[in-house]
Amino acid sequence: MDALELARWQFGVTTVYHFLFVPVTIGMSLLVAILNTAWVRTGKVAYLRATKFFGTLFLINFAMGVVTGIVQEFQFGMNWSTYSRFVGDIFGAPLALEALLAFFLESTFLGLWLFGWGRLPKRVHLACIWIVAFGTMLSAYFILAANSFMQWPVGFKVNQRAELVDFGAVLTNKVVLATFPHTVFGCWLAGGVILMAVSAWHLARKRDLEVFRPSLRLGIAAVLVGALGTLVSGDILGKIMTQTQPMKMAAAEALYETRQPAPFSLFTIGTLDGTKPIYQLEIPNLLSQLATGSFDGKVEGINNLQAAYERRFGPGDYRPYIPVAYWGFRLMIGFGLLAALVALVLLWLTRGRQVRGTGWVWKVAVWSVVLPFLAHSFGWIFTEMARQPWIVFTQMKTADGVSPSVGAGTVLTSLIVFTILYGGLALVEVGLMIKYGRATPPSADDAEPHDGGETSFAY
């Protein structure tokens, strides 16, 4: 493999890994803030115990999100210096603002929340976790605005490099306006699933019902709101994607020839890239609806688009790798919907102040914890890989963005280092999440904050 391929692998590995922690951070900071608010409002100690219990899980995850995030910022310069030179005038600003406006808020106020129990007035302390939750969402906006420039560059002119013309246009790119809610709802879904799965484990053993029944219900609510929001925003995003990156939509469907109306294939058996389907389960007209908003809209096929791009950009292959696009798109949606289904079943089982449920239902609920991670990972793999061969759509190809001064051996070294380090940390992290997920929530006495700053250790 050459430096380009290795750099792409490294970006894929480190980004997907980083984004295992991001949705939990965004989703759980909000849910912990809600639990904390419930305690401050009602004074019920069960809510306080839940706050502390899930706060610990949140922190175990947050640490990993922070440290793997620094890699992301450095990586653009290290592996993609030509890209950085080209887009820095536009792409750098959202990254700087993300740090200045959001990361400072998150990290500072999380420190205050974590170490401030009993030291800060209750409401000030509560405000800290809300500020953390707000900060996480703000950071999502900036980084998605930067990513959206790569999907659909706006507000710039090219003068050897991409130069900023309209910052407002960059921040209100129609792609970010849809991607932001899509991602944040997906994060709420992920946070909700954590609450749901962990609570299910305890409820299956009939432990601490007063803590875990409300937690389960909150988790379910977050999953359902998240799923609904993700679907609606995803539908809007699909239509925007069809306008902005028709090749991505065609690749998502493995639609080779332009069709009107176009059906949506649920799955295909045959060649991986869908060129020779043996069996295909199709829903007529659905792709037309998803892509254009009309049941008999015309959807452009890969072959037509390839020809059109060759005319516009010169000879070359403008098709992304179809199997990843086709299956990534389906698996993203499928795993997300599956999580929602589990939540609906649990909602039914916990109706009317009851907790029903047999062993296998709880087992499924516990294992549903993997679903949002799969959905988020496939979503990112889809949206980034189906943009290829472009690093900035229509402006710069991925192959042209790599650092010319960095050799394949160097990139390979860092790829190996990160893979081993991240793999080891994943084992440690999952081990701790399981340990603390199965732990008994702190007792009423331990949970109650007291001004014992000297003896209480947060670590």
Partner: protein, 327 residues
């Protein structure tokens, strides 16, 4: 003042903030095996930086992001050129950050010892490498006409840079020990103060040598005055710690680190990354900068939010101003 100059100053400020703040939490990490005698003392030490280390690290992320936004060419050449040192710094910061959060999460001596080793190494490595990196920035590196780094990893380990690395290493170690003396009580505080004096003498000698050597890369009267001021501040910090004036000692060592960083940036200016192949290939505040449009927008936002950050971070330090002790 030109916007490019404003951003050169802004990035100086961000690095000053980073080294003054994370400098002491690197120091606390390095001091873990030196100052603490048992597990309780190690927890006390880590709790002195517990509420703030993550916020301190954001100064680095902001400095990186601001460099990307304001001087894309600088960011691109620097990060691709200093690839392996940055990789080591990233690994160190990852291990150390996770170590703080995870060391207490299992009740096992072996588990804690492993994370503590990670915290010590993860504090030591960046404290050394940041000095090496900044010395190379001031000295210049092998940049070609396209602003690409064409030197090797070993070129970065030249004597001047190594001296710079040892200087930041000992300065941060001392800064951390002074912070510990200020934030703890009793035996730990006394031990930290006595360690600070020892590392402080080494740091002072290295600092004098490094700052004197720095002057040949573009020193003027102003930078000599800054260097002397930094050394005097640091010497006073040591004097203060010897007399048990820990608050003053910490303030003075913070000033010493801050002024040292400022003096490096003044020597560097108007370059941002000089080329040792041909001065015409050097990256400067002019040829590395983003457009005035981007710089203007960033200036407006930073002018409001950077002071706000300083304000709420100061409040954090106020909330956690008490000394940490065991039982």
């Amino acid at each position: 003042m030109e916007l490019t100059e404003v951003w050169f100053v802004a990035i100086t400020v961000l690095w000053v903030g980073y080294f003054v703040l994370e400098g002491f939490d690197f120091g606390v990490g390095m001091m873990l095996p030196v100052v603490a005698r048992n597990e309780t003392e190690r927890r006390v030490m880590i709790d002195t930086i517990g509420p703030v280390w993550d916020g301190n690290e954001v100064w680095l992320i902001t400095a990186g992001g601001a460099t990307f936004a304001a001087f894309p060419e600088w960011y691109a050449s620097l990060f691709s050129g200093f690839y392996l040192p940055l990789l080591l710094i990233l690994v160190a910061l990852i291990v150390r950050g996770v170590g703080f959060e995870y060391r207490g999460k299992r009740d096992s001596v072996a588990w804690r010892l492993r994370w503590d080793a990670g915290i010590v190494a993860g504090s030591f490595v960046p404290a050394l490498l940041w000095g090496i990196a900044f010395a190379n920035i001031v000295r210049g590196v092998r940049l070609d006409a396209d602003h690409e780094y064409v030197g090797t990893f070993w070129d970065l380990l030249n004597p001047y840079a190594l001296l710079g690395g040892l200087t930041t290493l000992t300065l941060f170690a001392t800064h951390g020990a002074v912070f510990l003396a200020l934030k703890t009580r009793g035996e730990i505080s006394r031990r930290a103060a006595s360690v600070a004096l020892k590392t402080g003498v080494a740091a002072a000698v290295l600092m004098v040598g490094f700052l004197a050597w720095t002057q040949i890369y573009g020193g003027v009267v102003g930078t000599v005055i800054l260097a002397v001021f930094a050394v005097l501040a640091f010497a006073s910090a040591l004097g203060a710690i010897a007399r048990g004036r820990q608050g003053w000692a910490f303030l003075l060592s913070a000033v010493a680190i801050g002024v040292t960083v400022i003096s490096l940036f003044v020597v560097l200016h108007p370059n941002v990354l000089p080329s040792t192949i041909n001065p015409a290939y050097s990256l400067t505040v002019e040829n590395a900068a983003a457009t005035p449009k981007t710089l203007g927008i960033m200036t407006g936002i930073a002018a409001f939010f950077l002071p706000l950050v300083v304000l709420y971070q100061s409040w954090t330090y106020w909330v956690f101003r008490h000394r940490v002790g065991a039982g």
